[in-house]
Each structure stands twice: as C-alpha cells, then as structure tokens.
C-alpha cells in the first residue's frame, strides 16, 4: 500500500517547475454579509490527494463547491489547468463530484447511474457498456448492476457514487465527506480502497472532511481551515509534528498546551518560563520567536515519558500526581496534575499483555521529555 504521507518522491509542490492543476488566487466568497471564504490562495497539483480539513462551517465545502461550479467566487480567480473557471457551468467542467449524500438517482439502476454521465457525452453505446463494466469492476459491484439504489447497502451506495463520478474520467474528482455516512470499521477499509483507486486511475482527488484521522490516512497534503481561512497547508506528517499554530496543534490529535514566557538562549534553543519556582522548559525549535514573548509550548502526550523514579536527565523534568487514568487497550493515557494545577497528559503503549500496575491514582510521578519533543508556538 502506497502511503503518500511517507512518500519522499511525490512532492510536486516543492518543485518550482511544476504547474498546478488548480489554483485559487485571492478567492473570497460572501453570502450576503457572511464571509464564507476569506482571501484564499492555494495551489493543488496533478495526482495529489488533497484534503480540506476543518470544523463544520469553516468554509471547506464552499471552497470545494466553487471547484464544481456550484458557487461562484465573489472576488478572485480560480483556474483549472490554466483556464479561468468563471462563467463555466458545472456541466461544462472536466470536474466531477461525489456528494456527501451520494445523490444517487433513485429511479435508475446502479448501471444506469454509472452510465448517466457518459450518455450526456453522446458516447457510442458499446463504449458506454465497456466503460460502465470497467467502473463496476473497479468498485466490485458487477453483481449489483441491475439493482436500484434502495436495494443496496450504504457502503455499496458509496461505491456506486464513486464509480459514477469517476466514469467520465475527470481531471479532478471532488469528494464531499465521502465516508461520513459509513460506520467506523467500514470507513477505515474504504479509506484504503479510495487511496488504491486514486492511485490506479491517477486522478487528482480533493476531499472535504471534518475527520482528522481520515485526512491523515488518505491525503498527500492537508489544508486546515477555520473561519474561511487557510491556517496551514502541509503534508500529514508535518501538520502533526510541526503545526504552525495552537489551533492546528489542538485540532489535529491530542496535545498538551503550556503557556509561558519565552527567552531565546542563542544556541537555537528556547527557554519557557511557565510557573513560579519551576525550572524553565527547554525546547529546540527553529520556529520559536527570537525575542522574549508570550508563547504556548505544545507537546503530544505520546512524547511525554512517565515514571515513578526521577529520570537521570536534568532538563524538562517535572513532578506531578496522577489524577486520572484512561486504559484504551493499546495505549494508556495518564492525566497528571502539576503542582501549579496544570494538567499534562502522558501516553504509554501497552506493549506487554499485563497492564503496568505500578502506576495508579494519586501516585507521585515524574514526567520528562527531550528538547526536540515539543514545539513553541507564537500566540
């Protein structure tokens, strides 16, 4: 299985020679007085699996619907393959969309649904047959071609919608929360299937989702959005490990946030004074401000070590008391209360069958982490 997230070869956005497939140039969309999209500039490249991620109402769906031609930007320009898309209606765009509700035609069979777009192109009948067959094979629905949408399961409907939107071999496929209606197990399987299909067909996918795990799994790059603005556009790995803001750090995964005043040390490391009478935290973070400032230190729970005895290192060691334990099977999360009342979560993998019984409620424990484990974020 190809994991775009770890692929080091596919990074067209780093190549200045590459021309983007889609580009938004200062696009703003207003509905009355409400600004849904605020001055977005973004390039998406061929064969990318691009995810728009954000809470509901952040503008991600509006951004996608502008690509489909269902909304027109109030200001700015959208080009696809170098062509300005203003005034081009949805039916004239080489873009297809998979709708959140699937939007299958209830009065047509699975086969007729898949053939629908091809018939509009006046493709010869034999060719349509062939293409429909190919698509049904791709999503493994050959045996269901004569069924109506209500005669198949939710997961199968999702695949019909996918086959239908891919049938016309669009340059760009838009997926609006494509897996939102499926249950968790099916959703995970389908994520891999989607990636497989994307790779096989070589189509550029843009997916809208509010599920960060889904975005992390499928996407080559993720755009995190909030209030109609792009907050960060990066690969899943970088979004997780080097978020550019408290918002992104908090939105993706679990994080401990500790506020304090920073003081650059000059050797590329930054000290963060977070509580009276406590040693400063030290972080080796290239993006930290080079002047004294009010900042937030962010560290993922799995990067925090927890132990009963004081660890040997002198840096980034704090003492606390276990306030709560959540046993999740594969991992355990400890909520530790520091002397000044701050709560810090630490996670350990349960790699042995018997849970570690030496840590329990109200135990005094030591938390520690390395200098590169966390990052300092400007406020």
């Amino acid at each position: 299985m190809n994991q775009p997230a770890v692929s080091s070869t596919f990074e067209p956005w780093t190549d200045p020679q590459e021309t983007p497939l889609i580009s938004f140039k200062s696009v703003t969309k207003k509905f009355g007085t409400f600004t849904a999209i605020n001055d977005v500039t973004l390039d998406i490249y061929r064969q990318e699996f691009f995810a728009l991620l954000g809470p509901s109402g952040c503008g991600k769906t509006t951004l996608m619907r502008m690509l489909g031609g269902f909304e027109t930007p109030t200001e700015g320009v959208i080009t696809i393959d170098g062509k300005d898309m203003a005034n081009i209606p949805p039916n004239k765009r080489a873009v297809n969309m998979m709708f959140q509700s699937y939007a299958l035609f209830p009065h047509l069979t699975v086969r007729e649904n898949v053939a629908f777009g091809l018939k509009r192109d006046n493709m010869p009948k034999a060719q349509i047959e062939e293409r429909v067959e190919e698509m049904l094979n791709l999503v493994q629905l050959q045996n269901f071609s004569q069924r109506k949408p209500h005669q198949i399961s939710g997961g199968q409907r999702q695949r019909v919608a996918l086959a239908r939107s891919l049938a016309k071999a669009p340059k760009l496929l838009l997926l609006d929360e494509p897996l939102g209606a499926l249950d968790k197990k099916l959703r995970q399987d389908t994520q891999f299937e989607l990636m497989d299909i994307q790779e096989k067909t070589g189509t550029t996918f843009v997916i809208v989702t509010h599920d960060q795990e889904e975005a992390m799994t499928v996407a080559s790059r993720i755009a995190v959005m909030d209030h109609g603005e792009l907050i960060q556009v990066e690969t899943p790995g970088r979004i997780y490990e080097s978020p550019n803001s408290v918002y992104v750090a908090d939105f993706i995964g679990d994080v401990n946030l500790i506020e304090g005043n920073t003081k650059p040390r000059g050797d590329g490391k930054t000290e963060l004074f977070w509580a009276e009478g406590q040693a400063p935290l030290v972080a080796e973070c290239p993006h930290a401000p080079d002047v004294e400032a009010r900042c937030t230190f962010a560290i993922r729970p799995e990067k925090v070590n927890i132990s009963k005895e004081r660890p040997d290192t002198q840096i980034n060691v704090v003492q606390g008391k276990i306030h709560d334990i959540a046993y999740l099977g594969n991992i355990s999360t400890y909520k530790v209360e520091l002397p000044n009342g701050t709560m810090v979560k630490a996670q350990t993998a349960n790699n042995r069958r018997l849970a570690r019984r030496d840590l329990t409620w109200d135990d005094d424990v030591w938390l520690s982490w390395t200098e590169t484990a966390g990052i300092v974020l400007d406020q």
Partner: protein
C-alpha cells in the same frame, strides 16, 4: 407508550361514527323502495334504474368529466411549473406577487373567486360555457397542485439535481431526466387533487357556467334545493363508492410499495 385507553377508544368510535354514519344512512336509503325518503319501504335498486334514464344527469356528468379532465391536466402542467419556479427559480421581478397569487386562491372564499372570474369573462366578452369553467377550474386547482408539488421539491435532496449537472446535464435536461421522475408521485397526487376539486366544485361553476353547460354538482344542487330525493341518494352512493374504491386502492398500493421498499432495504443491509 401508545395505548388504547377507554377515553381514546370512545373518542375514536364516536368521532368516526359522526364522520361516517350520515354517509352510511345515505347509502342505505338509496336502496329504499319507497319514494318517501324517510320511510323504509323495502330493498330495491329501482332508483339506480331511474337515474340511468335521467338524461339531464347523464349530460351533466359528461360535461363534468370533460371539464375535470381538461382542467386537471392544464392545472397539473401549470402548477408544476409554478412550483418549480417558486422553489428553484431564484429571484425574479415580482416574485412576492407571484407567490401571493399562488397562495391566495387557497384561502379565497369561492363566492369571490367565482364572482371575479365571471366579471372578467363578461368584460372580455367570452361566452359562458365549458371553456369558461375549464379556465376557472384550472386557475384555482393549479394553486393546489403547486402546493403539493412544491412541498415535494422542497423536501428532496438538492444534490441529486446538482449531481446531474455535474455529470453533464443542462438545467433543462436535469429537470427532465432526474427531477421530474423523482417528483412524479407528487405530480400525480396533485393531478388527482385537481381532478377531485373540479369534479366537486359547485360555487365557482355556478358563476361561470352557461345554460348549456350544467355540471353535475350544479344539477344536484338545484335538485336538492327542492328537498331530498331518492335519485340523488342513488347518485351520491355511486359517487361515494367510486371515491372509496379509489382512495382505498391507492392507499393499499402505496402501503404495499412502502413495505416492499422497506424489505428490500433491510435485505440489502443484511447482505452487506
């Protein structure tokens, strides 16, 4: 918890007795031998025979059917167009006036609608007859059709239409190949409603009908003004019978369709 308490049973029994007893009595008395409509003189179907011989009623029935078919079809086309314009038409000049004109006839007293249409026909010099009745019936029933169809249009998933556009349909294509098949049941029930409204209408027809175009309700009305008659009982029984058969079979058919659909959906989920 749903439970049939003593109170509920009583109110349902009394309520439905009130709704149905008068009609049941009417039906029973249509088989009365005696001309005296309140005295039972034995079972007979002779009034049905009399009715069949009554040419005035038969003529009126023919006029009524002609009017009902013509006006209900016109009303269905116009009403569906109006519904589409209201729900999907976006903004256009005089939209508020348009929606007002759609809803106003629903609450307008029939005497006023009838009066105003008659005054229009007189002032443009259109002779009163079948044409004027059809025009009048089309106008008020198209509003009912439009309400029925627009409620379906509002409730169905807009993205199905967008999907059609996305797959290359022009807006007109999308309406024809996707929207229309989906709203078809609502269009059909709108048509049935228009048909019934036209078959039933007395007041508006009374205004706009000419001497040569008496409809069945006008005929019935002028005859019952003089009192109860066994022939009218027989005629009413036939009409009630037709409506009952129609309504019950339609409701059974829709019940069966819903059940079949549910079964198929369940099977599909279980198979997955």
């Amino acid at each position: 918890m749903r439970r049939l308490t003593w109170f509920n049973t009583t109110s349902l029994t009394l309520g439905f007795a009130f709704l149905y007893l008068p009609m049941v009595i009417l039906i029973i008395y249509s088989f009365n031998e005696s001309r005296l409509v309140t005295v039972w003189g034995g079972f007979s179907t002779k009034w049905y025979g009399e009715l069949m011989k009554n040419e005035a009623f038969l003529d009126a029935a023919v006029v009524t059917l002609k009017v009902a078919f013509a006006s209900s079809i016109a009303a269905t086309v116009l009403g569906t167009m109006a519904a589409y314009v209201l729900v999907r038409g976006g903004r256009f000049f005089g939209r508020t006036l348009f929606s007002g004109m759609i809803y106003a006839p629903l609450v307008m007293p029939e005497v006023i609608t009838g009066l105003s249409l008659l005054l229009l026909f007189i002032s443009i010099g259109l002779d009163r007859g079948i044409i004027t009745i059809v025009l009048a019936h089309t106008t008020f029933s198209m509003c009912y059709v439009s309400v029925v169809v627009s409620s379906r249009l509002v409730s169905f998933d807009r993205s199905v239409e967008e999907a059609a556009l996305d797959l290359g349909c022009t807006p007109f294509d999308a309406f024809r190949s996707v929207t229309l098949p989906i709203i078809a049941p609502a269009v059909i029930s709108g048509w049935l409603l228009a048909l019934t409204l036209s078959l039933d209408d007395l007041v508006i027809s009374s205004f706009v009908a000419g001497p040569s175009s008496t409809t069945l309700p006008i005929k019935i009305f002028s005859s019952v003004r003089l009192g109860v008659s066994p022939e009218i009982n027989a005629l009413s029984t036939i009409l009630i019978g037709l409506v009952t058969i129609g309504t019950i079979s339609a409701s059974l058919a829709s019940k069966r369709a819903v059940k079949k659909r549910q079964q198929e959906e369940q099977m599909a989920e279980q198979a997955a």
